[in-house]
Amino acid sequence: MPNRERLDDELRAILPDLEAAIRADDRGWRRARSWPTNVRRAAAMALLLALDAVILFGSPRTDLEVLPVVRTLAVIAGVLVCAALAAALFLRPLDRRPVRRSTFGSAVAALTILPLALALLPAAHHDLGAHPESFVGAGADFWPRAIGCLLFGSLVGAPVAAGLLLVDRRPRTGPGRLMLAAGFGGAAGSLGLLLHCPLEVVTHRVTGHGAIAVAVALLLALALRLIRRLVEFRSAA
């Protein structure tokens, strides 16, 4: 242990920088990090719900009327529960004991494969006569539609995951936490596709819907790398 005098010197040297960091932290969007944890969790979920509500009311799937209501509501509820658990885990405050690594790893794995599990669910309806548009997306149409859905889901999921990162208090996001945030975004993207895409062809859903969490993770990693480069460039300039 340093002696008292040296310790006081160290603390005196830290305080001005610390106060400046706190002042910077109280400006603009950074203030959101100081919201109480439950408010931050609610805000992340609200962003997810808001984007998916825009899809539901702005561009709903065309076969909504032939979907089985109970099953659809059960799937939506399941996705929302998974997303809420992901937000709770990701935004777990630092004044609490950390969760076990195995628990964390299981959550990340579960959220990463959630979109794939949803894609592999049996078709919600088989009524080709009532809604033939649900059974296109094969042959020459396959790749354009699959890539379209992957982009759509990723573009819904990425801002939701970014929202989660914005209210995160930790200084850096490691690969595991990045993947958890991507899983949260993936849940948002999957829900968006569930509400938007009427295709019931399993190959389309696996290809276009099943890898959204991974696609969101790639987008986030790319964005974070660009931001870090930009910050380095600006501080060097």
Partner: protein, 169 residues
């Protein structure tokens, strides 16, 4: 802390004056002086962000030290992930006859850097931070037995590496 949680910003410097030394001391024991400054600052920044999570009437010091411990753990994990970034050897192994302390330190650092991150964390926690296997197990989220297995494997590997460099068993 209650005043600070309720919005009295002037209470912060009082908190820092009262508890900064304990946090800095905890960090310094683990990571040395330079990193301790950064981690102490990080801990109090996290305190600032978490002030509205503080339950009025709860004990403040354990709450703050939990934050400090988590900040330290995150730092050590990041350091373990970065290859060759071990910089925590404040107390090198006992120097052998022929080599200087600096040589030994360098060799042990190089050997430690070759360990898998999971084993390196355990060696560092036990030998350099003087923490118990139970504490390390709790922080890493694994069982005490798993920590001992990692430690055993790490010592075996370190021994092999150092023997190959001509050190005595």
């Amino acid at each position: 802390m209650e005043a600070y949680a309720k919005g009295d910003t002037s209470a912060f410097s009082e908190l820092f004056t009262r508890h900064g030394g304990a946090v800095f001391g905890r960090m310094q024991r683990s990571v040395g002086c330079a990193a301790a400054r950064d981690l102490t600052q990080q801990t109090f920044l996290q305190l600032h962000r978490a002030r509205r999570d503080f339950r009025i009437g709860a004990a403040f010091a354990p709450w703050l030290m939990t934050i400090a411990q988590n900040v330290l753990r995150d730092h050590l994990r990041r350091a373990a992930r970065a290859p060759g970034s071990v910089s925590l050897l404040d107390e090198p192994a006992a120097p052998s006859r022929a080599q200087s302390a600096a040589d030994v330190r360098e060799s042990v650092q190089a050997a430690l850097a070759q360990l898998p991150a999971s084993q390196r964390e355990v060696v560092r926690g036990y030998w350099l931070e003087h923490r118990s296997y139970s504490d390390i197990a709790r922080d890493l989220g694994i069982t005490r037995g798993a920590v001992k297995v990692r430690a055993h494997r790490a010592y075996r590997t370190l021994r092999r590496i150092l023997l190959a460099q001509g050190y005595d068993a």
